[in-house]
Symmetry: C2
Subunit: 199 residues, 2 copies
Amino acid sequence: MTDTPREIETLIDLLARLPGLGPRSARRAVLALLKKRATLMAPLAQAMSQVASSARDCRVCGNISTADLCPICADPRRATGEICVVEDVADLWAMERGALFKGRYHVLGGTLSALDGLGPDELRIPALVERVRDDGITEVILALNATVDGQTTAHYIADALEGSGAAVSTLAQGVPIGGELDYLDDGTIGAALRARRRL
Amino acid sequence: MTDTPREIETLIDLLARLPGLGPRSARRAVLALLKKRATLMAPLAQAMSQVASSARDCRVCGNISTADLCPICADPRRATGEICVVEDVADLWAMERGALFKGRYHVLGGTLSALDGLGPDELRIPALVERVRDDGITEVILALNATVDGQTTAHYIADALEGSGAAVSTLAQGVPIGGELDYLDDGTIGAALRARRRL
């Protein structure tokens, strides 16, 4: 469109790069923002600018944080002996949603991938090994995605932690809660069958 | 979630208020922003803050603008005698997408609605009447939505402009390009039938 002010076009183009928004929905979002300039647009711009300037990786675990230590690493009530290893911050948030895990995290920043050129050194794996060695960690729970890359990474980490003294475990695989067998793939049913429990 | 930094939670809450985004997709969008802090988040925050502080309504037509006059009203190549009346800026953008209309616009800011308490004075209708009277307008095209409120507003405006000397027209109704009769409602087919053209 030629006759939209250039600043507004720029804003639409940038918003369209967010996941879940395309050019059309970004345009709609900008119109909604323009209608609520004072109550929504200005506070959103300010919140975004504040996070953009203050957000960084937690020095210890790699979680997103606005301080040197993330709220989880800084929380004295969280158990220090257990580390849950996740691929990225989204997975950490997914684990925290259940509020079941009381230990601390280690965010890898991805999975090992020859295709993407991601090796152990790109993934904060050395930092994990060091942390386990120096901080008296007793258990490492590998909460990686049940994909080929995720499982490759899990095995690599298990090898790297051998001899560290920490127990290494991984999330159970099986039928998800509410899952219907008819809709599950053979791999999941197979894993659930092999890991069957006595009632 | 208790352990996400408060600034990030604020950002998610604000983003979730955009149309097309919910709490979950806002969270995903924020994660994407956090991964591209320098290349996407900071520029987006800046663009948004700039638009929030500079955007205003065009003094003449009510279009969104960053100057006193919007680019369309300021463009000397646009015909001054024709005004296309639209409900809001989204409709103006939709008209401009085709680049078929060469005149200028008048943005009402809504349609007459007893339920929402929107009367003519809330809708820039007096400004339209004044503009038609003072600026030598020869044609007013009512490009309002084909809804009950839109059509009520169109009739109200046509009445208000009676005796102004300007011809008042409205968009044709009929079968949309590519439309299949089987999927069209009776109202549209009826309108298309009444407005049939000789081949």
